[in-house]
Subunit: 184 residues, 2 copies
């Protein structure tokens, strides 16, 4: 990774990192998130599956709700029960969660094939890597990256954000209305 420019390193808030760290960086919060991605929704399920103390669970669920990561709502099948469900913002943590998972799988000692295994629904094949894509969908390695002044971008990219992909890029599946309309 080159760096013609350096980010303002003291000012973590400027790039919004602390929230994702606050949300995922703490061990119990992370385990609750992982359980949510595994389809758990109820307080008592988290309690028994995670082996977590009741007060800590209550505290961490509250924090995840405060951050808009989980929604707290009555269970449609039994209105007296409360359900915790991932919001769209919560689902947006998935690439980071899986990147951490894959790092762990690569570097844990004596790793053997995971079971259960995460697959894509269509082909039922184990998922590929969590990868950094270029604007046109190329997979980038760290050597392909550079940090540059915005003023040095090509004119057509002046207002472009990190994280955007060219329209119509092959294989790109997103949840936007545009994509839903295109698929019809």
């Amino acid at each position: 990774m080159g760096s013609e420019m350096r980010e303002p390193l003291k000012d973590l808030n400027a790039c919004g990192l602390p929230e994702a760290l606050e949300v995922m960086g703490e061990r119990w919060s992370f385990m609750i998130l992982r359980a949510s991605f595994n389809g758990l929704h109820h307080f008592e399920e988290f309690l028994s599956e995670l082996g977590i103390a009741r007060n800590i669970l209550s505290n961490r669920l509250g924090r995840l709700v405060d951050h808009g990561i989980l929604d707290r709502e009555p269970d449609p099948d039994d209105r007296r029960r409360i359900e915790y469900r991932l919001t769209e913002k919560g689902f947006d943590l998935l690439p980071a969660m899986l990147a951490l998972r894959q790092f762990g799988q690569k570097y844990v000692d004596g790793f053997v094939a995971t079971d259960p295994v995460l697959v894509d629904e269509r082909d039922r094949m184990p998922v590929g890597p969590v990868a950094i894509l270029a604007h046109d969908g190329r997979v980038l390695s760290h050597a392909d990256l550079n940090m540059v002044a915005r003023a040095s971008l090509p004119p057509e990219a002046k207002d472009r954000q990190e994280g955007e992909l060219d329209p119509g890029t092959r294989g790109w599946i997103d949840d936007s209305e545009e994509a839903a309309v295109a698929a019809e």
Copy 2:
């Protein structure tokens, strides 16, 4: 994300998550890593750029070296100085770091275009998303994922790990010797 199967949720160690969390989840460690990706190598640089206390910096650098994320070696230009450089394992944290960054950029209030901006070296365009790829390079959303028993995979995928991509998949760039040979 579907889940025909559930991971063993109590046993975080089984999927190697704690190491990545230990390494990245703590605020100062995260800031040191971010500074490393920005090209900082020396103790005194970290000290002045991050506004971190000397003893905390020393402790966190030591931990990152212990985890094999940073290498500690004499500066080739001045053998009395020590350099801290990202190892290959350290660079493997980049997808997770960038996924957290992009999450922050998406959800921080009043976000405006970042400057400096992370680009791909070839096109000097802002990078695209950190994305979950299928075995064949398709970009997957959370709705495309499922957690299944390994025994239910197609026969050719029985020994396949998560994180592998089909050989020759378009756009795939990796650092392996095989790729280097193929590029010649």
